[in-house]
Assembly symmetry: C2
Homo-oligomer: 101 residues x 2
Amino acid sequence: MLVVHVQVHVKPEYLEAFKQATIANARESIKEPGIARFDLAQQQDDPTRFVLVEAYCTAEAPAAHKGTRHYLTWRDTVAHMMAEPRASVKFSNQFPQDADW
Amino acid sequence: MLVVHVQVHVKPEYLEAFKQATIANARESIKEPGIARFDLAQQQDDPTRFVLVEAYCTAEAPAAHKGTRHYLTWRDTVAHMMAEPRASVKFSNQFPQDADW
């Protein structure tokens, strides 16, 4: 199980638009067979910062996700909303065991 | 739903010991009524770095967690394993909706 944290810094005027576009993407992403979770959270002490937590079940799942219409729509919709380029960090799942995600 | 990311930098000689102690803590933590998830992941490009993703259902749940025996045991067990003080960031859940965690 690959867990990807995507850190996003959003321009203040786009907070609601970013949330809406990202939740729309997340709702479709969790239907993908290779995706176990696709969470969005907003930082409490700086609401312009968000983290996406994406849990992929297979090595092929991230590339499959990036080929979906909902991902491409999200990518293009939010491009101008970013205060800086987003950053992602890849993690290997340790707990719970993969079958329990 | 409060989501807390705890970033931990572990001394290289304690990687396995840290994992074992943290998984033992996580197994007990997810039994707490106020905790929805308690995930551990290890950074792929730097295995000395871990993230705990803790999802709390109520405002009281973090304090309740810090009063449990398993938390106190973990805290004391891993104290000397840290390469630097751990850092936590608090997030407000945006997706999925709280009931779906």
